[in-house]
């Protein structure tokens, strides 16, 4: 091997990872410190405080899990499930299915409440399933990355309280882009990933755990099957004790802290408004390009637009040409939506009017090359009408 491939500058408008903020990449390249260094501990504490801000959580156990979002999902389930526990999960796409897979591996009795891909889980059905028998955990994916569908967390939290269950929420594609509101809604276990709306590279999973859930954890009858993700031990590192568990991914913590600082500087509310406006504009423009939204208007994410691909368009070819001609990545469909949808993310740093316009221009141009009778100008005009924040 004599030549090496150079990382390319891409515009990452897929389902994640999204582009990192330059300040985040710069912070990540700061000198590595020891994971037990008091100054690094101060940095970790600041990172935890900022996570609480973005989660809207006051939970003392609010930590970065040392793995990607899926490690956050696994940590959120394996710590609280014991064999034969009843777990009710709303499933509206691939990431809901992943929760089911993980819960089953722990020996849980899993009840799935399914929605067709592209629609949200019916909360009455979810409550009916929970009410049938004593339930340990009830969970769903707030932002289903495989379909672009959004779930309101308020009814989930209420179901958990009414039936004395713990709520568990996947906020991988929402945290930093849409409200999560852990305290306000009284959510128990919520996890996310760094590579979506936080403008940070993949590699960490922010996680917040309520005192109620922590109590359940500390009263387990069986050990947690995972040593690496065992929160009974990990929380001792993040607590006053600073007990060594595993080496924290120091430079990724620098990156996460910087990414959360960026949100704190912009303010959460402004960040959410920016995501909402840009996704509304993109959906409007995409519709004008002949690409109808998959989710209905009240079930759409502000971070990820999912649209149906016309039958006479070679969707893989369009994505390949976007990459070749514009170094622009958009996502294709997963599972049963493979070949049928595009998933276009406007996440974190990438959620900008500029990127809405780049995307519509490039995608429109490629659709015209595919013989679609559309107008890029009309699409840009539709999008422009949605912008209220000065560009």
């Amino acid at each position: 091997m004599t030549t090496y491939t150079r990382p390319e500058e891409r515009l990452l408008l897929g389902p994640g990872p999204s582009n990192c903020h330059p300040r985040v990449l710069q912070a990540m390249a700061s000198p590595t410190m020891g994971h037990l260094d008091v100054k690094f501990m101060a940095i970790m504490n600041e990172c935890m405080d900022l996570m609480r801000l973005v989660f809207g959580s006051s939970h003392p156990v609010t930590i970065p899990v040392s793995g990607t979002g899926s490690a956050g999902m696994e940590a959120s389930l394996v710590n609280f499930i014991e064999p034969n526990d009843r777990v009710v999960l709303g499933v509206a796409g691939l990431f809901g299915e992943r929760m089911v897979d993980i819960a089953k591996r722990q020996g849980a009795q899993v009840i799935e409440v399914k929605a067709p891909w592209g629609q949200a889980v019916d909360m009455d059905e979810l409550e009916a399933a929970v009410s049938e028998a004593p339930t340990k955990l009830v969970g769903l994916v707030q932002a289903e990355t495989s379909t672009g569908v959004y779930h309101d967390l308020k009814p989930l939290a209420a179901i958990a309280r009414r039936h004395d269950a713990l709520s568990v929420v996947d906020a991988v594609t929402s945290l930093g882009g849409m409200p999560v509101l852990v305290d306000e809604l009284d959510l128990d276990i919520v996890y996310s990933g760094t590579q979506k709306c936080l403008s940070c590279p993949p590699g960490l999973a922010p996680l917040t755990v309520s005192p109620r859930a922590l109590d359940v954890l500390l009263n387990r009858k069986t050990p947690v099957s995972s040593w690496y993700l065992d929160l009974t031990m990990i929380s001792r590192y993040f607590g006053k004790e600073r007990f060594y568990h595993h080496t924290a991914p120091v430079n990724m913590i620098y990156a996460l802290r910087e990414s959360l600082m960026l949100i704190a500087e912009e303010t959460l509310e402004a960040t959410w408004a920016r995501h909402a406006e840009n996704s509304t504009a993109l959906y409007a423009g995409l519709a004008a390009l002949g690409l109808p939204a998959l989710p209905r208007p009240d079930q759409r994410l502000a971070s990820l637009c999912v649209v149906r691909v016309p039958d006479d368009v070679d969707e893989a070819q369009v994505r390949n040409r976007l990459m070749k001609n514009y170094s622009m990545e958009i996502g294709g469909g997963l599972g049963e939506l493979k070949g049928k949808v595009w998933r276009i993310g406007l996440m974190g740093y990438n959620s900008s009017a500029r990127n809405v316009n780049y995307c519509l221009t490039a995608l429109g141009s490629e659709l015209k090359a595919q013989g679609q009778k559309i107008s890029v100008d009309a699409a840009l005009k539709e999008a422009a009408e949605q912008f209220t924040i000065p560009v």
Copy 2:
């Protein structure tokens, strides 16, 4: 919160993390790419090729696990252990104990072959334990970071072959600093971490798995308890199929690839020789400062020197003063060696004659401040006599 803590420039001469090479930090700050981008796949393939080089392994399944070294340990055990499997583990310190903990959580019948902390496991005892009953896995820690003790892997590999077991090896503190020789010794499952002799930040765990071990994995009767670390699925992402499992920690892969390139440029043999020489020099200098080695000469690591602290020295105070006066981190003892030893790492980029001299000068000065009757000049002279490679 209005002020933020700045990462400090430290000289990390503890048990890890060690300082990163500047080229590694720079590579890590390259633009994030999609984890399914063909160009990123090329980078990943190069990273895997370089891992094979450093492991001395031709195993197709040679991958970076998306977590720290402990995630590599967990992946190396949970994928191959099913409930009631017999597992024999050599235990000579904290990381051997950690292997036991993880194996037990998988329901294994674990037989521990113990050595006193500071000594290596007796290989005849290990073989006797394996020979008592059919054994699935036999493992140990090549480089025991808690004691500085080195285990020769040749007898381990031979025991595994003679008794039809799989060998599993922790090479976290050795890979890149000492020979691991996976193919030559015919080892099955070997994992490491990025933050020791690879001059890379913590966050990934290089792992290599023999076809023999892969066959055992693919013929499991029960599912792997961990979804996140399930190699039956992960290997499909690293194979030709490129099946999406979880988002790879893209920027950490850039860092790992760069760190492995540095070793390839220097050559493995030169890297090993450098580690051997600098640790020999440091041990000689430390002895002259009145700090005797914990392990005997033939059981010492080339990456980490562990020495006894004199009874009349306040070891925590010395470490605190090294940090305060020199921004230099060295490690204290863990477990039963707490307060009794110092662990001084010369790993990767940090293994240099310069750092040997820095360490002896600073530590000698602080020992004199503690009233020790020693000569820094004599220690530097002892160390200098070991250097054959021009400084």
